[in-house]
């Protein structure tokens, strides 16, 4: 399909979406009070209110238009993709010490893809906080990683963008189901050599992993606490932050090669929030065992990631930034390093209108092959811009335009348009 035709097709889709949104948002506005009442109806409490629970949720309608190959972790063979999603949350407080939460989703796959809809239980965890000052909490279950500062705001309602930052979705050349045996293989997997057929690029997309795969809902245990201006958290999970969603399923849980992570938070006041994270774990799945080099185990193929993050907020401005330095220790090949970072700013013009801009970049280090030092991946940058309009406190429309350079197939640049309508209840 030509570019002009595909853009016309997306514009038509957008127009249809807008036509649908007008009555939807009008109905939502007229029933604002009803949605508030629904929230109250979905809140349950014992007579003494010591045990209480709340069901809430999001309905997302997402439409993507992109140039092939699809960006990030999107899987598609065409230029357009529609992905509806229903998310249900349970938050339960049992006295002042026990907190239980769960998240269930119906969608076409954790990452946008043209698959049949199915239901998943993405998160479920129990947290015990023995002291009221929050100096210590213990948590067990399946939950988002403590590493970085994007996971706490990755939901469709709270994230200013539709897609995740580059570090959380841009695929590296590493595969998690097969071990690398020499530098040439890594360079081939990274598509550093030009002229790869598009079919291979598309096929290998399913094999590659990013630095962090979204919120990384792996299973494990966490400790955390609040010590005045400082906060801490540590986790042990069955899979690393780069693990793919399929490995988070209960049947895949094994602590034979756990991933560990820690985070320190310094908040001098409400305006500033600085975080330091570190995590280490093998990036290979058990399926890679058959491909390991002799006398090496999966534990020898490690991903060690350091992260620094910053949040600054003042009046109607919000600023986020994260830097990740990842090192992959690979027998025979050596250390393969990369840096991925983003800076994001959002401004609220009114209760309804806001806009955000994000700059992302991923830079690869060098490994040594027969020809000498060579960059082991394709450097990439991406610029995202996203205006958002809240029709009501329960309905929101986001648009996003992204321009990417690097690791974009045969093109120097790719353009992605996306729109997302969210109803919160």
């Amino acid at each position: 399909m030509s570019r002009a035709r595909s853009i016309r097709s997306f514009a038509r889709g957008l127009a249809v979406l807008f036509v649908l949104l007008v009555p939807i948002s009008r109905v939502a506005a007229a029933n604002e009070d009803a949605l508030d009442r629904l929230e109250e109806t979905l809140t349950f409490a014992t007579p003494d209110a010591q045990a209480r629970a709340r069901l809430s949720g999001l309905i997302d309608l997402e439409q993507y238009h992109f140039q092939l190959p699809p960006p990030g972790v999107i899987r598609a063979t065409g230029n357009d993709l529609f992905t509806p999603r229903l998310t249900l949350f349970l938050d339960a407080q049992l006295g002042s010490q026990l907190y239980l939460f769960a998240q269930a989703r119906w969608d076409r796959g954790f990452d946008p893809q043209p698959a049949h809809g199915r239901v998943r239980l993405d998160e479920y965890a129990l947290r015990y906080t023995p002291w009221p000052d929050g100096r210590l909490s213990v948590q067990a279950g399946r939950f988002g990683t403590i590493v970085g500062n994007w996971t706490p705001r990755h939901g469709a309602w709270t994230d200013a963008f539709i897609s995740a930052p580059l570090a959380y979705e841009q695929l590296t050349g590493l595969w998690d189901r097969e071990a690398i045996t020499n530098p040439v293989a890594l360079l081939r997997w990274s598509h550093v050599r030009s002229g790869l057929p598009a079919a291979i690029t598309a096929r290998e997309k399913d094999l590659r992993i990013p630095v962090l795969w979204g919120p990384a809902y792996a299973t494990g245990f966490a400790l955390s606490g609040d010590l005045g201006k400082f906060g801490y958290a540590a986790e042990i999970k069955h899979a690393p932050v780069s693990s793919r969603p399929e490995t988070w399923e209960p049947g895949q849980v094994s602590f034979a090669h756990p991933s560990i992570g820690a985070r320190l938070r310094y908040r001098p006041n409400a305006m500033w929030n600085l975080g330091f994270s570190a995590t280490s774990g093998t990036y290979l799945t058990p399926a890679a065992e058959r491909t390991l080099l002799p006398r090496h185990g999966r534990g020898d193929y490690r991903q060690i990631t350091l992260g620094q993050d910053l949040v600054v907020a003042w009046h109607h401005w919000q600023f986020w930034a994260e830097v990740f330095e990842a090192r992959y220790t690979i027998p025979v090949v050596g250390d393969a390093d990369l840096v991925s970072y983003y800076a994001e700013v959002k401004y609220k013009f009114s209760p309804q209108l806001s806009a955000a801009v994000r700059w992302n970049q991923q830079l690869f280090g060098e490994i040594t092959d027969r020809t000498g030092p060579v960059t082991w991946g394709k450097n990439a940058w991406r610029l995202d811009a996203a205006p958002a309009w809240r029709f009501t406190p329960h309905t929101q429309l986001k648009l996003q335009y992204s321009l990417q350079h690097g690791d974009t197939g045969a093109r120097a640049f790719t353009h992605t348009l996306a729109t997302q309508f969210t109803l919160r209840f």
Binding site: R54, D91, T129, G134, F143, P152, H315, H316, Q318, R390
Partner: protein, 214 residues
């Protein structure tokens, strides 16, 4: 008798005339049975403090309807954010009142309203920020306040076109004093969907009448 009157006269002169003309209404409003028990979303607030948020018992507002002049000096009221809750959860004010929103927590809140009676977004401001952010509520109506950061936080400001109003206690009892004499209507606001029909009252200086809202 002349002696007694001469004794009472200075006392009568010292009493403000307005007080002599004041009437009062007392009674009871049948409140809703529901009791709001907010549940905080702490899924990713992994270093958040523990605890159970305070419940909000249902309350009602009783007010006198009539033609009253606007306030000469804009009244001032406060609605605070403390322990991740709005305090009070329901605030009746006269139209023209400026409401301050002090933040007594050591973290950010972001108050906003989409209500037609007043649409605003205060943004994020530090607890020690001066002047304390405030909004003047000019139009009568119901304003729902929310926090953009803490989705469980909710409060109501009931903006009334009268200076004569009072909130009930948790049993629904109220006493609305300092009222002018004359014929008026009295109503009770019970929740966002329920305001009682107006009840005609004849107020006489110095008298208290009883009105119940079943």
């Amino acid at each position: 008798m002349r002696f007694r009157l001469s004794l009472l006269l200075p006392l009568l002169c010292a009493t403000p005339a307005s007080a002599l003309a004041q009437a009062a209404i007392e009674g009871r409003v049948t409140l809703l049975k529901t009791r709001s028990a907010p549940v905080m979303n702490k899924r990713y607030e992994i270093v958040a403090k523990g605890g159970v948020l305070a419940t909000n018992p249902p309350l009602a507002v009783v007010y006198l309807e009539g033609e009253f002049p606007p306030p000469r000096v804009p009244p001032l009221a406060q609605l605070a954010q403390k322990d991740l809750a709005f305090i009070p959860g329901l605030l009746p004010v006269q139209a023209g009142t400026r409401v301050e929103f002090p933040n007594f927590d050591d973290l950010y809140h972001n108050i906003f309203s989409f209500s037609p009676a007043k649409r605003f977004d205060l943004g994020r401001y530090r607890p020690d920020e001066k002047p304390v952010p405030s909004v003047t509520f000019d139009e009568p109506g119901l304003v729902t306040l929310r926090c953009d950061i803490h989705e469980h936080m909710r409060a109501l400001i009931l903006v009334l076109a009268t200076p004569h109003f009072v909130m009930t206690d948790t049993d629904g009892r109220f006493r609305l004093g300092g009222l002018p004499h004359g014929r008026y209507h009295v109503r009770a606001w019970i929740d966002s969907k329920t305001t009682t029909p107006p009840r005609a009252v004849d107020l006489t200086a110095g008298e208290t009448i009883r009105v119940d809202f079943p």
